[in-house]
């Protein structure tokens, strides 16, 4: 049941989005270069000092990547959790993150540049998702969700094995550090155009999930219930999974493997807006974007040498998830 039953469905999502953007604005205005906000604002319109232009060029893409990836991972996580009626479902359920990691690692092993690496990650993520969905489609009858979960585990395991092989044979002085750094996640490597490019698949996946809306709620009740309400469960589920995989691949391609956002943000949003897909997905996306911006800020707070956001998201996300899980369980 929704926690804010008297409030229109769009209000929590908008409020959380405004909060995420407000925090992003504060983050945009602070940093080691120490540019005054007024100068930075002038730089947005091309009239700032060279220092402000530089600060904007460095902070802007980073913030855009954090907002996009946080929202995409959280939206995908919410979609997975609704579809599978499983609070532990996350964007990596179909092996998408592992597949994207393998794609990037292979590209780095072959000497690819940043854009090719991101493309390979995107393709790797989608390939792992397609493998899981394709294998699950081979099973006729039975519980389709269970087949998907099992096939997702298989796809993830295969991708992880491949990744292990790449790490083993990578040249240790330049390739291995590059692969490790990529796998630990960072919002800093994307340029503005690359971060903006990730918006396209992330937005497309979001539109599909939002369009599915109440159908996701029905799907979460099981195939029999969906059929009794006139919905064809299997194609709808595949469409939803493809949308979530698209969002996850886009995020991992830009930022590397940043875990926990897709698991944590939907739980946090659920506390406020409840289970309904139409409310939960946008609210989870805003929460995920906020979490990603805060984590990225934390990554640069310990000196010139930064901490990988993948490590921090796990260090902060795991205890926060536990807390939210307990709170949700008590309120259920």
């Amino acid at each position: 049941m929704a926690r804010l039953s008297g409030v229109p469905g769009w209000v929590p999502a908008v409020a959380l989005t405004v909060l995420a953007l407000a925090v992003a604005t504060v983050v945009l205005c602070s940093g080691p270069l120490g540019v005054p906000p007024a100068d930075l604002a002038a730089a947005v319109f091309g009239r700032g000092s060279p220092e402000a232009e530089l600060a904007l060029a460095l902070r802007g893409p980073r913030l855009l990547a954090a907002l996009t990836c946080g929202a995409a991972l959280a939206g995908a996580g919410a979609g997975f959790q609704i579809l599978f009626r499983n609070p532990l479902a996350s964007p990596d359920l179909l092996g998408v993150s592992s597949g994207a990691g393998l794609g990037a690692a292979v590209a780095l092993l072959l000497g690819a540049g940043v854009f090719l690496t991101q493309t390979a990650a995107f393709i790797g993520g989608l390939a792992a998702g397609a493998l899981a969905v394709g294998c699950a489609a081979l099973t006729r009858g039975g519980d389709g969700r269970l087949a998907l979960i099992l096939c997702g585990v298989v796809a993830g395991a295969l991708a992880s094995a491949g990744l292990g092989l790449v790490v083993t044979i990578a040249e240790p002085y330049s390739q291995l550090p590059a692969i490790t750094y990529w796998l630990l996640g960072s919002f800093t490597r994307a340029t503005l155009s690359e971060a903006a490019l990730a918006l396209i698949p992330a937005a497309a996946g979001t539109m599909v999930l939002l369009w599915l809306g109440f159908r996701l709620d029905v799907l979460s009740l099981g195939d029999e219930q969906a059929r009794s309400l006139g919905l064809s469960a299997r194609p709808l589920r595949i469409i939803a999974l493809c949308a979530a995989a698209l969002m996850t691949s886009a995020a991992v391609a830009v930022a590397g493997v940043v875990g926990w956002i897709g698991l944590l943000a939907p739980h946090a949003a659920r506390l406020v807006v409840g289970e309904q897909a139409g409310r939960l997905i946008p609210s989870a996306m805003a929460t995920g974007a906020l979490f990603a911006v805060l984590i990225d800020r934390l990554a640069s707070a310990f000196g010139p040498a930064e901490l990988p956001v993948g490590l921090l998201s796990a260090a902060v996300g795991a205890p926060a998830f536990l807390l939210l899980f307990v709170l949700n369980a008590r309120r259920a």
Binding site: P37, S174, G303, A305
Partner: protein, 312 residues
Amino acid sequence: MLTRRATLALGAALGLAPSACERAPAVKGDVIAAGQPAALLIWAVARERLAGWPRKPNPEQLSGLAPEAAALPELGGLAGPGRQAGLEAIAALHPRLILDYGDTDPQNVEHGERAQARLNIPWTLIDGALTRIPDAFRQAGRLLDARDRGDGLAEEADKVLTRWRAAPPGGSFYYARGGDGLETGFRGALATEVLEGAGWTNVAVGETDIGRVTLEQVVAWDPEVLVTLDEGFARMALHSEVWRRRRNGMLRRILLLPDRPFGWIDRPPSVNRLLGCAWLAAPHDGVMALAMLNRRLYGLAPAEILRPQWLA
């Protein structure tokens, strides 16, 4: 529009304001090393220009460097292993140059060009090949306005490498890395280049550069010498029948090479490897030549230079 004070107040409330350690550290040098190999090159040629360490040397390593090394901050790297520096934090130091030293493959070149475009700071990648160390000194000398020092080091490196190439061939060896000795540099690896270039034969043949092997494989390769930088492993192997016994019943020797302040053949793959070359070129020479080279590279002539030890 947000004022700076209002922004900082809001930021502080949210824990977002720049923390003391996030603000750009006070640095004297104006050149950033992209990685530890570049830091050692800059340290040797013009240490007063080095803004900070990509990874700060540990106290043991610092004890082998000129005292000012301890005062340099850790900035993180822009290439290679270890914690990565924030691009904005680097920009806030207003360096004149970012210097990288290593493979000049297209991936590294693109990495440098990308960072240069984003930071608007010149980025120069110097070829890190062992045999091109003299060129690296000359190039670094010109870039760092220390031409005399760069040329002097290049001349010395040229002499060392000429003698190293003509060194009497050594025996077959297995390079044992890590505490258990089961990580190795395969034939042709950067890690074993110093030994192989001096005519030693690396028994470990593999497809990769560095990899793990089994003890049974090492026994099957039957090297004459175990080479290591790890004193713990050397002591363990010395008392291990399996590690020591050769297939002909003889005992194999263990060569413990110095790793302070940096490895003589490896770790990191930078100008530190010249010491290994110098020793291999004339293993029976006195310590004076090595001490002088050590002083030129690190700014300090140790009271007692660490020498390779044959444990047998």
